[in-house]
């Protein structure tokens, strides 16, 4: 009654009884999903622009890569393998979350975390086999920017997984936390999806162009 007074126009008819509705939802119905997708759109644009910068530099020089050998394939390619493999535990975790299967989520997140750690380790090696430095020339700068940008996302998402994973073990928990797990899995898919074109640009373009 007092509450009703806060909306000056008095409304008797009840249009919606929200009490019957659930207090969270998965997928594009959830607000978290839109937040995650928004961030993905922003970062996807950033990746696209960095790739644009890379090719802009390409149009400015005659030889490609300019006074440098193409990056060595092994670590980067290994990372493609690791990332593609990581999609499976990631998918499993997402499904587990949507089943509210806490045990499954715990196992899944630990596995994902291991994959993330492996990827970061290999990424560190990648930086040592680029055959160019950021201050060699504009090509080197673009390579480092592109790889650095992706590494940043990698690290943030692994950290995010770690925190969320810990919460899954320690609590306090309620079901809406499983939505966070499923969004975290979605974001990891984005990191994977972003890596494939970036790998093509960094490792294959210097050999094809």
């Amino acid at each position: 009654m007092t509450a009703a007074a806060a909306t000056p126009i008095a409304v008797q008819r009840v249009a919606v009884d929200a009490a019957r509705l659930p207090n969270h939802a998965f997928g594009h119905q959830s607000v978290m999903w839109w937040g995650t997708v928004g961030i993905m759109a922003i970062e996807g644009t950033a990746f696209a622009l960095t790739v644009f910068m890379y090719f802009y530099v390409w149009t400015r020089v005659d030889a490609w890569p300019p006074d440098a050998l193409p990056p060595e394939l092994r670590w980067g390619t290994l990372n493609v393998a690791i990332l593609l493999a990581s999609v499976l535990p990631n998918y499993y975790t997402k499904r587990a979350a949507e089943r509210y299967d806490l045990r499954g989520v715990r196992i899944g997140m630990v596995v994902c975390l291991l994959f993330g750690a492996a990827f970061i380790a290999v990424r560190a090696l990648e930086f040592t086999t680029l055959n160019v430095s950021w201050d060699t020339n504009a090509y080197g700068s673009a390579v480092y920017l592109l790889l650095g940008l992706h590494t940043t996302h990698l690290v943030t998402d692994v950290a995010d997984t770690a925190v969320l994973g810990t919460l899954m073990f320690t609590g306090p928990l309620d079901r809406s936390r499983f939505v966070d797990v499923s969004e975290n899995a979605l974001y990891w898919n984005f990191v994977v999806a972003a890596w494939l074109p970036i790998y093509a640009v960094l490792y294959l373009m210097p050999r094809w162009l």
Binding site: V16, L21, P22, V31, W134, S176
Partner: protein, 646 residues
């Protein structure tokens, strides 16, 4: 009702001598703790929104004062009042402030306050993120002016072209501060955009289908999408710039495969849409005010919406018209000319629709409408000079002259600031519960309108007479003295007018006549709650059944029951037809967004001096974010209590 109004006031302005429990009882978890801590921890989109707007307006005044100094210097030839070093900092900080720290943020801030109310939501999506965005923005803007005070004010222009802003010619740390300011405003702007989009898509009142959304909400939706896709461009550009300056990368070094034009492409790919971040919300204000003050729905709702969408898309296709004087291929030029001219059509369409609305309506000539009428006069003129600038040959003559200075102020002040002032007069009663003084309002308008035209119209002629932009002085025999003097006098009028506005706000906040929930007899949902709105906005939330809910006979179809205030819950609806889908508990107020913002600021500012700050600076940020995210036991318990049985 008045009791609730005052309860709202209490929540919106803590420290008033009223017992807090009354509000707590009514609004439960929506209410902030009293006192300073509560004020710093608040995530109420209305309190944050008011702060956002006030701060941005403060920067508007500061930026305006810098402009005043510039007009003082230029008011007579061969003036030695201000030297080139200071003058370059003045116009750079003026431009940077107005574009990055005033215009775009204040439009987003209006969205933060009004979008949830206009879509009938009880809260904004991601309220903690909004609080964080505000603090980051505040610290970033403050940093710019602290830098100016310390003679580290950026001095390479708001567009910061390389190589002038680059490592070799941008001596000292000035351009680094510029680049980091961009990063600050980026973070803030992008987070607000995501939050506004989500609010509009998922938190609309039941029954508010997409084609029933108020036009202002459409404007903010489109603007937010443009921000999401345009801001990253300047983010990458400024990152590359600071890397060039700090660690010796070569993005803009033509001798090592980089290119000065790369900067221009990246900057204007963002820079041109940015004009429309400022302009589209302005159009939203105009649609809102025209509708209310001609007592009828705006003519051609669909046409107006489609025009705004078209503007949004086209605005990404004309950045090169800022670069006609560089060697761009001929074909490209005519394409960008065409695009730059075509974008006039959607705007023209809206203007015709508004004139039609006024023509067929019953006009209420109050101050908000006055500012909109001023908008018509100024914006149309600015738009037409815009078409002139779109023509490559003509642009080659007037590009980078005072003609452009005139044009951009006609477009941005006409298209952005006049509607904004109209919106201030229109929504002030909603925010404070009191009306702004009408007489002062009319003085405010006429002084601004006359002062503006006196200040900026002569600049068209100056440009054609050959006066380039960004000159700190000019010789007497150039013959530019008289028009410059006139222009400076006009600037004085503008200053007086803005001063009147400030006085009006200060007086009316305390002594203005009480407004009541709906002083203008308007149609949108924000007028369905008390002025100022209570914490949680709507008790109960309403379901709508039409485009003009408060005008149409059965515009409000009923109320929403079953949402608790403790934990505070919002109703999440579906994307297209806004049918109820689930409840969502919004997080409790917390100090962590502020602490995270402080950590962010420390990192950004330190990274100007050492690249390693990016590494060690991110540790406190991570800690703050974890603390922000980590749920408390009571929260989790409350949520569990509200779960449906599996």
């Amino acid at each position: 009702m008045s009791a609730d109004g005052s309860a709202g006031t209490l929540a919106a302005h803590p420290g008033r001598d009223r017992p807090a429990y009354s509000a707590r009882e009514r609004y439960g978890g929506w209410v902030d703790e009293p006192g300073l801590l509560g004020a710093l921890a608040t995530i109420d989109h209305k309190r944050v929104g008011v702060r956002f707007i006030t701060t941005a307006f403060g920067f508007f005044v500061l930026g305006g004062l810098l402009a005043g100094l510039m007009r003082l210097q230029l008011s007579r030839p061969d003036s030695t009042l201000i030297g080139p070093d200071l003058y370059n900092q003045l116009f750079t900080v003026h431009g940077t402030t107005m574009m990055f720290v005033f215009a775009v943020p204040i439009m987003q801030a209006m969205g933060v306050y009004f979008v949830p109310l206009m879509v009938g939501a009880r809260d904004i999506a991601f309220p903690r993120m909004i609080a964080y965005a505000y603090w980051v923005y505040l610290f970033g803007g403050a940093m710019l002016f602290v830098a100016l005070a310390l003679n580290i004010g950026p001095d390479a222009g708001w567009f910061s072209y390389t190589p002038l802003a680059g490592p070799q010619y941008g001596v000292g740390k000035r351009s680094d501060f510029w680049a980091q300011l961009i990063t600050f405003t980026e973070v803030s702007g992008l987070l607000v955009a995501v939050s506004v989009i989500t609010t509009i898509f998922k938190l609309r009142a039941p029954g508010m289908t997409l084609n029933r959304m108020p036009l202002f909400v459409w404007a903010l939706l489109i603007t937010s999408f443009m921000i999401v896709f345009a801001l990253p461009s300047v983010m990458m550009a400024s990152t590359a710039l600071i890397l060039d300056r700090l660690v010796g990368t070569h993005f803009y070094n033509q001798a090592e495969g980089g290119d000065a034009l790369l900067w221009q492409h990246l900057f204007w790919f963002f820079g041109h849409p940015e004009v429309y971040f400022i302009f589209l919300p302005g159009l939203g204000f105009v649609s809102t005010i025209v509708g209310t003050f001609s007592r009828r729905p705006v003519f051609g709702y669909v046409a107006v919406v489609l025009s705004m969408i078209a503007t949004g898309f086209l605005s990404f296709g004309l950045w090169v018209h800022h670069m006609f004087a560089t060697n761009v291929p001929e074909l490209g030029k005519s394409f960008f000319t065409a695009a730059s001219m075509v974008i006039a059509i959607p705007t023209a369409t809206q203007i015709f629709c508004w004139i039609a609305t006024l023509w067929t309506g019953r006009i209420v000539l109050k101050t908000p409408l006055l500012f909109v009428l001023g908008f018509f006069f100024i914006l149309v003129l600015g738009g037409l000079t815009g078409i002139m600038l779109a023509a490559v040959p003509l642009d080659l003559q007037i590009h980078d002259t005072f003609f452009v200075v005139a044009h951009l102020h006609y477009v941005l002040i006409g298209g952005g600031v006049f509607p904004l002032f109209g919106a201030f007069y229109y929504w002030f009663p909603k925010v404070t519960g009191r009306m702004l003084n009408e007489t002062l309002g009319r003085w405010n308008f006429w002084l601004f309108f006359i002062g503006f035209n006196v200040a900026f119209f002569p600049m068209h002629i100056l440009g054609l007479q050959g006066m380039p932009r960004r000159v700190y002085t000019y010789a007497a025999e150039s013959g530019w003295g008289t028009l410059n003097l006139i222009s400076s006098l006009g600037a004085v009028l503008i200053v007086v007018s803005v001063l009147l506005f400030v006085i009006n706000v200060v007086r009316s906040r305390r002594r203005g006549t009480a407004a009541g929930p709906d002083p203008w007899g308007a149609s949108t949902l924000e007028w369905a709650t008390s002025s100022p709105p209570p914490p949680g906005n709507f008790h109960p939330q309403l379901a709508v059944n039409g485009r003009e809910p408060l005008w149409e006979p059965d515009g409000v179809s009923g109320r929403v029951d079953g949402l608790t205030n403790d934990p505070p819950e919002v109703l999440v609806t579906t994307l297209l037809d806004a049918s109820p889908h689930h409840r969502r508990a919004v997080p409790a107020p917390t100090i962590w967004p502020l602490l995270a913002a402080i950590a962010t600021t420390v990192m950004f500012v330190s990274s100007i001096f050492t690249p390693w700050a990016v590494v060690w600076g991110s540790i406190p940020i991570a800690i703050a974010l974890i603390a922000w995210f980590w749920p408390t036991r009571e929260e989790a318990a409350k949520h569990r209590k509200r779960e449906l049985p599996a």
